[in-house]
Amino acid sequence: MKKIINEPTKVVSELLKGMELAHPELVYTEKLEVIARREKCNKVAVISGGGAGHEPAHAGYVGKGMLDAAISGNVFSSPSPDRIIEGIKQTDAGKGVLMVIKNYSGDIMNFGLAKDLAELEDIEVESVVVRDDVAVPDSTYSTGRRGIAGTVFVHKIAGAKAESGADLQEVKAAAEKAIANIRSMGMAMTPCILPAVGKPGFVLEENEIEIGMGIHGEPGVERTTVKTAKEVAKILLDKILVDYDFSNSEVALLVNGLGGTPLMELYILNKEVQELLAEQNIKVYKTLVGNYMTALDMSGCSITLMKLDDELKELLDAPCNTPGLTIN
């Protein structure tokens, strides 16, 4: 294993400390692994979190216009309720807290318990669950569809709504609307190496790729031989378009890298995806290309579409300023 780390047991706290040093507007709470906006805002708080290893998610989306705090677990492992409670307490300004959770069993349970504990302390907490992955109905870690890269759009929409001064139920409704209109699908070309394990968790042969693989290396739908960018775009998009009717609509498009794929390849994929969407009469209103929700050093990609209406468009365009996404 070649990695720039000190000790595998310290990767999470050291990565978050490094992030705080790079972004002084964020504050890191040691041991509880919470990254929050340094200045508490007088509005509904939006928080999220999950296992580490998906950088810039989740801490990278903390900042004006998106999250108020992100809570990190260990690598690929859900944060425990005591950490989540800390995030809730740090951000609640008396107007309630919305938790954006990805559909993984550990996250659902830990955030669920944190919500119960917060309510005992009279903090109003609501939650939404992202289930955007159309690859498989269930996964190693989830009951029902996994939540993957589309979560970034949910952070953006919920964050913008909260920033506008909306109340907790309105922020939740905006997040739910985004979730209902988002679909994603991914593929992997190489496994990733967990720092604590030191070797790949599974093997893909030199000429193999796996379609529909999750962001922790959980199994997808099929293993197949290496394809061209055009073929990959078609395989992933076809599955998304069969699942949800995006025809004659405007969409936001996210071409996401899993951490080990060069931007060159993501831009090539973007070109192919956009050509296919144009053929289907689907208009791309805004495009994001890059590493937004990664799986350590896994090479591979995912494609996410969010169908837009006037409200979602306005919230998508609202300014945000975070380490992982800036919109002016």
């Binding site: 425990s80 005591d82 950490r83 830990n110 318990l113 190693t140 009951t143």
Partner: protein, 215 residues
């Protein structure tokens, strides 16, 4: 006849359980590696290690506060799914013990039942899914039946212990509904569920402990 477990007793029980779980490291890790991530023993052992570290502090508390603290520690130290399930179990059990000074036969049965219900509801899981529920549920059912029949508390302890052990053993022939084993061709059939086995260690130790404390 009968027993009343104090905070000090429960802390002693935790120490005994830690010894047993610690000694079974290689066995549990091998079970888990066959069907899962291989980290179940490491996590649960870490949880009990921490509990033993703070055991003297636990002894000073009421049983309610003791259970609350055990739940909080398990949640944060064990982490992941097991941590939150054990955490929820102990927090739910704590509610049963509110304003109680010690744990008698009926309270202990209620404690185990509260734990079972919390695990079922938090994990959104059922009996027969090859999890720790398959050990805990038969133990609780057996305990409730023993109380209904008015059985002697030592006899009850023996029967509950056996029900837990048989329950863990019953996971061998089950197909996994959750977890990594779900993706294997045989869905883990032929392998014991490591979570059910570590649960059976806890119940067996508890029942032996209860027997020792029967007057």
């Amino acid at each position: 006849m009968g027993f009343q477990l104090t905070s000090k007793d429960y802390a002693d029980y935790i120490r005994k359980t830690y010894e047993l779980i610690y000694s079974k490291g290689d066995y549990i890790t091998a079970l888990d590696s066959a069907t899962g991530d291989g980290d179940h023993w490491t996590n649960i052992n870490m949880g009990f290690e921490k509990l033993v570290e703070v055991a003297e502090e636990l002894e000073q508390k009421s049983v309610f506060e003791e259970f609350m603290q055990i739940g909080t520690i398990m949640m944060s130290v064990i982490g992941g799914s097991s941590g939150v399930l054990y955490g929820s179990a102990y927090l739910a059990a704590a509610k049963v013990l509110k304003e109680k000074e010690s744990i008698g036969n009926e309270e202990l049965c209620q404690v185990l039942d509260a734990m079972l219900q919390a695990i079922i509801s938090r994990g959104n899981a059922q009996k027969g899914w090859k999890t720790m529920i398959d050990c805990l549920a038969p133990a609780v059912e057996c305990y409730q039946a023993c109380i209904a029949q008015g059985l002697d508390e030592k006899v009850t302890a023996d029967q509950v212990k056996q029900a837990a052990i048989d329950g863990a053993e019953s996971t061998r022939d089950m197909e996994a509904v959750r977890g990594r084993a779900t993706y294997q061709a045989n869905k883990g059939v032929g392998h014991l569920d490591p979570g059910a086995v570590t649960m059976s260690y806890q119940i067996a130790t508890l029942m032996d402990f209860v027997k020792e404390h029967c007057e």
